[in-house]
C-alpha cells in the first residue's frame, strides 16, 4: 500500500526556484494504476519520489508503515532494493554483465546470498521466457528481450511495489503488448502494487484506474 500526500518537488538549489506540485496519491496493496500526462507534467518525477530517489520538498510518502523520507538515505536505498521494483523506459541494463548477472545484482543488493541470488535470477528469467539466454550480454539481446530482463530485474526480489516508467515506449505495438502482458502477469503473481507511466492511449486503456497529471496536482479520490 502506498500513501503519498501533498507532494511538491523543487528543482535547483536556490530558494524560490521552479517547484512542481504533484499532489496526493493512495494505492491499495496489489492495485494497478497508470499515470498519464503531457511531456513535462511530472510523471517521471512522481515515480522518482515514490521510489525514494528524489526527495520532495513537501509532503510525505509511506509504503505500508514505512515513512520513506523519514529513513536515512542508506536505509531508504535498502528499502528500495528490497521492496520496490523499478522498470525504466529503456531496459538500462549494465553492459559487461550477463542477463543473469544483471538480475542477480538486484537480488544481491536486496541482501540475498550469492547462490540464492543466482537461483532466484534464473527462475525469474525463465519466467520471462529468457531461460535460454541467461548468459547473454545485453548488447546481444533484442530490445524486447532487454526489457524482459529489466522486468525480471525489477521483480526478482518480489517487491511490494513496481514502478514502471513508459516500459514499452521503445517497442512496437506487438512487442509492447507482449511485454505488458508479461509485466501484468508477474506483478500479479508477486501480488505487487503496479504504477505505470505512459503517454500511449492503448496502454492507458489496459488500466481501470488512470491518474492524469495534466489536470493539476493529483487528488486522493481521483
Amino acid at each position: 500500500m502506498i500513501r503519498a500526500d501533498d507532494l511538491e518537488v523543487a528543482f535547483g538549489r536556490q530558494a524560490g526556484s521552479e517547484t512542481l506540485a504533484l499532489g496526493s496519491l493512495h494505492l491499495a496493496a496489489g492495485e494497478r494504476a497508470c499515470v498519464v500526462g503531457g511531456s513535462g507534467s511530472g510523471k517521471t518525477t512522481l515515480l522518482h519520489v515514490l521510489a525514494g530517489i528524489v526527495s520532495p520538498t513537501q509532503g510525505r510518502v509511506r509504503h505500508g508503515e514505512t515513512d520513506l523520507f523519514a529513513l536515512k538515505e542508506a536505509a531508504r536505498d535498502r528499502f528500495r532494493a528490497e521492496k520496490i521494483g523499478y522498470v525504466f523506459q529503456t531496459a538500462q541494463l549494465l553492459q559487461g554483465l550477463s542477463a543473469m548477472e544483471n538480475v542477480a545484482l538486484a537480488a544481491s543488493l536486496a541482501g540475498l546470498g550469492r547462490a540464492d541470488a543466482r537461483s532466484k535470477a534464473e527462475a525469474i528469467l525463465k519466467r520471462v521466457e529468457l531461460g535460454h539466454r541467461l548468459d547473454a550480454r545485453p548488447g546481444t539481446l533484442s530490445v524486447g528481450e532487454q526489457q524482459r530482463v529489466g522486468i525480471a530485474r525489477a521483480l526478482v526480489t518480489k517487491p511490494a511495489v513496481v514502478l514502471a516508467d513508459e516500459p514499452t515506449a521503445s517497442l512496437d505495438e506487438r512487442r509492447s503488448a507482449e511485454v505488458l502482458d508479461l509485466l501484468d502477469e508477474v506483478v500479479a503473481e508477486a501480488g505487487a502494487t503496479l504504477l505505470l507511466v505512459t503517454h500511449e492511449p492503448r496502454v492507458r486503456d489496459r488500466f481501470e484506474r488512470v491518474l492524469d497529471l495534466d489536470d493539476g496536482p493529483l487528488e486522493v479520490d481521483s
Binding site: I53, Q92, A106, S108
Partner: protein, 528 residues
Amino acid sequence: MSLFGLVLRNLRLRGLSSTLTALSVALGTMLVTAILILQGALDRHYDAPGRGYQIVVGAPGSALQLVLNAVYHVDDAPGLMPMRVWWELEEDDSVALAVPYAVGDSFRGFRVVATTDAFFAGRSPHPEGEGAEKLAEGRPFRFDRERLEDVLRELGAELESASAAASASGGGPGLAQSHGATEGAEEEEFGPESEFESGSESAAHHDDEAEHHDDEDEHHDDEDELDGDEDEHHDDEDELDEDEDEHDHDEDEHVDDEDEHHEHETHYEAVVGAEVARTLGVRVGDRIEPTHGVEGGRAHDHEHLWEVVGILKPTDTPVDRLVLIPLDSFFSIEDHRGGALLPGTTEPGLSAVLVFPRPGVHKVMLLSRLNRRPEIQVADVHEEIGHLFDIVGSVDVLFLLVSILVIVVGLLSVLIALYNSMNERRREVAILRAIGAPRRWVLGSVVIEAALITAIGAGLGVLMGHALVALAAGRVESAAGFRPNALDVVPTEGLVVLLVVLAGALAGLWPAWKAYATDVAENLRPTS
C-alpha cells in the same frame, strides 16, 4: 553479483585503460623495487662485511681504493707497501693484531690472498671465532715465519743474481712486467682444465713442456716478431728451470741438515672460502693451482700446487670468495719474486696490512702516528665506507626520488583514467542507485577498482623489478664489484606494495566522490 564482482567487471570492461594504468604503476614500482634490492645488496656487500675491520695500511694512493681492495676484494691493490711496516706494526704496543695481505693471484676467478696465521686469530672478523672455529672443515693452513724470512732473504740475494743475469740476457727487475705482457699467450697454452689436477700429472706435464721449449729455444731468437711473446715466455721457462735446480739444491741441503720440519714446506697449503668450495666443488685434500693476475691470468710454474687443508665457514662476505694461502708460499713462487719487491729496491712489499688496534685511544694514536709516514697510506675503514655510502647514498636517494615520482605519475594516471571514466559511468551509477545500491557501495566500488589496478600494477612492478635486477646484475657487478641477487626479497618491498596500493585507493577517492555524488534522477533520463 557482489561488489567485488562488479569491480572486476568494471576492470574487464575498460581492459585497455586498466592495463595501461596498471602498467604505469608497475613502471615506478619496478624502479623502486630494483633500487631497494640493489640498496640491500649494497648494504650487505659493504656494510656488514666492513664491520669488525678497523684500519688498513697500504701503498700510498686512494684510501677508498685501499679499503675496497683489502676489505671487499674489489678493484686492484694500489701498489706495494714496505713489508717492514708490517713487522713494525706487529711490535707496536697499540696494535692487537696485524694481518698482512699479498694479492694478485687468482684461482678460477676467485681471488687468492696470501696472509699469515693472523687471519685465523679471534680478532680477525670474518668468519667469527678463533683458529679451527673459523673453519667448516679441515684446519687452518700452516704459516712458517722462518721460511718466509728464508725466502725473503733468498729473494734479495736472488734479485741481485737475477739482475746480474739480466745484464747478460737483457731481462732484469722488469721481469714482473713482462709476465703481464705474456698473459694472453699463456692463457691459451695453460687452459683452465690444466689448473685443477693432481700434482704428479701436472708436474710431468710441465717437465715435458720445459724440455720441449729448451730444445727449440735457440731457433726462436731468429724467428719473426710475431713470436715475440713466445720468446719472452721461453725466457720464463728458462728461469723456471734454473729455479728448479736451485730448489732441488735447497732440498738437498735440508736433507743434509736432517730437518724434518722443512720437508713439510715443500708442499703448500691453502684454505678456501665457503663459496669457492661450493662453486668449484673444492674439497679438503684437493690440490689447486692459482694463476697469476686477478682476472684468471696465466698459470704459475706447474711445480707449485696448493693442497686445500681447510674450508672456511660461510660468512656472507667477500671472504667467502677468497682462496687463502700462507705468505711464505706466495713468495716462494718465482713469478712473485720480481713483483714482490718495491720497484727499484730490494725491499719486500705487501699489498696491505689489516690493523686491529687495542681498544681505547690506541686507534686514534695509531692513526695519527701512521698518517705521518709518507711511504704508506692509512685508511680508517669506517670513515672510508662512510664516504662511499655518502656518494652512493646520495645517488641512491636521487634514483629513489625519481622512481617515486614515476609512481606518483602512475597513480595520477589511475586517478585520471577513473575520473574520465566517471562521465560514461554516471548512468550506470544512477541505475545501480535506482535498484537499491547505497552511495557508500558506489564509492567503494571505485576505490576498490583503483586499489585493484594499483595492486596489480605494484605486484607486476615488483616482479619486473626483480627481473630488472637480473638483467642488470652483470653491469652492476662490473661497475660496483658486487653481484645483486634478483631473487633477494627485500622486506621493504611488501611495504612499498602496501603504500602504493594505499596511495592508489587514495587516488581513487576523487573519482569515487564523483560517483558518490552522482544525481540519480538526472542521470536516469534516457537521453542524458
